[in-house]
Symmetry: C2
Amino acid sequence: MSLDQVCTRFHIALELIGARWSGAVIHMIFKGAHRYADLKAAIPGINDTMLARRLRELEAAGLVERRVLATSPVRVEYHLTEMGQELRPALDQLVDWSHKWIPLPEAAESA
Amino acid sequence: MSLDQVCTRFHIALELIGARWSGAVIHMIFKGAHRYADLKAAIPGINDTMLARRLRELEAAGLVERRVLATSPVRVEYHLTEMGQELRPALDQLVDWSHKWIPLPEAAESA
């Protein structure tokens, strides 16, 4: 395998989870938010356009599966595929790293 | 710590390494490419403007240290700080994941 090919795949992976909000969406599905409204509530600042777009992108990339439950009324849930679930160790490491190294935004919330 | 704060820091971390080429630059410094020319040669498709910008951004964020060696002629090297080095487990996991799940770009190189 050439360096080009290694780089290309790593690159695609980073762009996939590095797109604004994508990592947060995946992380919140891990944490048990499976419905659109739960995801929206769990991710501060995301709007409907962006959440819907990210869910479609993650579904197209094979990380997220959209399930339509035959309840009445019909219910839609978002779950991680095996591909999505296997991102967990990398994202967990990244969460730990960010908690150690990224400073809290100063007083932004308490103002 | 509020969910907002957790999300914000994770988010900043993802944007930092998710920016186009940033992850590749960090990964290649890990791999031993410390000089500008080595980095440029190791990352297929990156241009001078982008490599210089990413190095400045990573330096400003505290992940990369720019060392000026008192040789003649003067030599500049890029090294990871402790903050940058501690990203390694997360990036290694992501490389493994991408090799398992991201398909090789078909025949793009062999055309």
